[in-house]
């Protein structure tokens, strides 16, 4: 396992490079990350990967997360970095709980949908949702089928 523990160190520069690109995307929405935010998010990512028993080989997910949430009406500059940190942790936790049955893009889409609608911007609500809730979007049939669930009646 020692070889794999090097992975977060190897992928950190790629993750760092994503920040610059992310700020360019989010500036029109009044959202930016400072250097201190970047360091905190980098630590948070490593901790989240450790906690969920996962490894990441390259950057990419942070940028996708920012893309997915940057135009949410519930994001504001004063808690932007903290919210991203929690979303990042939740993303890895869901990914792990779902045993990789959902693609990154589908999971982000589901998280964004719940965050904006049912959760109304509440991270605590998002953290408490069930895996079935995550798979309820119509485009997530594969995940629902893999989990052996019936067609949902709510949608």
């Amino acid at each position: 396992m020692t070889e794999l523990s090097l992975l977060s160190a190897l992928s950190a520069p790629a993750f760092e490079a994503e920040f610059a690109a992310c700020n360019r995307i989010t500036e029109p929405f009044g959202l930016t990350l400072s250097k201190a935010d970047r360091a905190a998010l980098l630590n948070r990512r490593e901790q989240a990967l450790r906690d969920t028993g996962r490894v990441e080989f390259s950057g990419g997910i942070f940028q996708k997360l920012v893309y997915a949430f940057c135009d949410s009406p519930y994001l504001a500059q004063q808690h932007y970095a903290d919210t991203l940190g929690v979303l990042l942790s939740l993303f890895y936790a869901f990914k792990s709980d779902l045993e990789d049955e959902m693609t990154d893009n589908d999971l982000l889409e589901a998280m964004r949908d719940i965050f904006d609608h049912r959760a109304q911007g509440s991270l605590a609500y998002l953290a408490d949702i069930t895996l079935s809730d995550l798979c309820r979007l119509p485009s997530h049939d594969d995940c629902r089928n893999a989990r052996g669930e019936e067609e949902d009646t709510l949608w």
Binding site: E3, L4, L6, L7, R54, V55, F57, D100, D104
Partner: protein, 290 residues
């Protein structure tokens, strides 16, 4: 698996190889997830890494390449070659499996036939591109000589099939009727018991050679069995020499053409010695020579 590989390198070389392996692992992870996931569970990533290392080790072994090739050549290209090597081994295993089925004894031993079915399933689902180290196949039917427990993946199945085919080649020198009679005498529930048919037939064949019984029908009369009891006067080294000589005589009389088959019989004779020596010390070898 990775740690064992690393032992051949200096500290600096290890760091370099580790980086090369992780870079290759990242590419394999992209292939495995089809780009759908940037992260993987540690267990899955470790299995992928073990697969990479296994493939490279098999390639080095098959082509007698030094382990430092892993540092001197571009790893992705070497890995592509390793996949070709694995594919070739898989094709060999498939061909050998067909041969094994065609030459398997007709004797209805459940473990033997279940094992052949299991190997067929394994060859169908074996994923040499992602997890070549996997050898999830129940090989219930025991071989006369134990396999190297360190073997993994297609190498394990290939080694099993090679030995199995050698055993079949030997058994084919006897009629189905002869084998049925012998095996039913050797084991009260020979169809359902897990035991090796070759070991039973080889022991009887060597007994026939020593006591001048009928090798073709593998039969010994009571006088010949009594003669075999005289082996009890031999100590273990002398008994081993006698059994080795018997295995060579047996190979000559049955016209075993392949040196591998002859060697296999010699090794089987050697393995039988300890059992035979213990049995003779306790007064009878009637469960070995039937």
């Amino acid at each position: 698996m990775v740690n064992a590989l690393m032992q051949s390198f200096t500290e600096a070389e290890r760091c370099c190889l580790q980086e090369r392996l992780l870079s290759l692992l990242a590419a394999r992870a992209r292939y495995a997830t089809q780009g759908d996931s940037a992260s993987l569970s540690i267990e899955y990533a470790q299995a992928l890494l073990d697969g990479i290392v296994y493939a490279l080790q098999v390639h080095l072994r098959c082509h007698a390449l030094p382990v430092h090739t892993l540092l001197s050549q571009p790893l992705p290209a070497l890995y592509d070659d390793a996949l070709c090597t694995l594919q070739a081994l898989l094709e060999r295993a498939r061909a050998l499996y067909l041969h094994a089925c065609a030459t398997a004894p007709v004797f209805a031993n459940r473990a033997l036939h279940d094992t052949l079915r299991g190997i067929e399933g394994f060859l169908g689902r074996y994923d040499y591109r992602l997890f070549p180290q996997d050898s999830h196949c129940t090989l219930d039917y025991p071989l006369c000589l134990p396999q190297d427990a360190a073997l993994q993946g297609v190498e394990r199945i290939l080694a099993y099939l090679q030995a199995f085919c050698m055993e079949n080649a030997f058994l084919q020198h006897f009629s189905a009727e002869t084998l049925n009679k012998l095996l039913n005498a050797a084991c009260p529930d020979a169809q359902n018991m897990i035991f090796n048919l070759y070991e039973c037939a080889a022991a009887q064949a060597m007994g026939c050679v020593i006591a001048q019984g009928d090798l073709r029908t593998l039969t010994l009369d009571s006088a010949q069995r009594t003669r075999l009891q005289r082996l009890a006067i031999l100590d273990l080294p002398a008994l081993r020499a006698r059994m080795q000589a018997a295995s060579q005589q047996c190979a000559a009389q049955l016209h075993l053409a392949s040196p591998d088959e002859q060697l296999y019989l010699q090794r089987a004779a050697d393995a039988l010695c300890f059992r035979l020596h213990a049995a003779l010390r306790h007064g009878t070898a009637q469960h070995i020579f039937l």
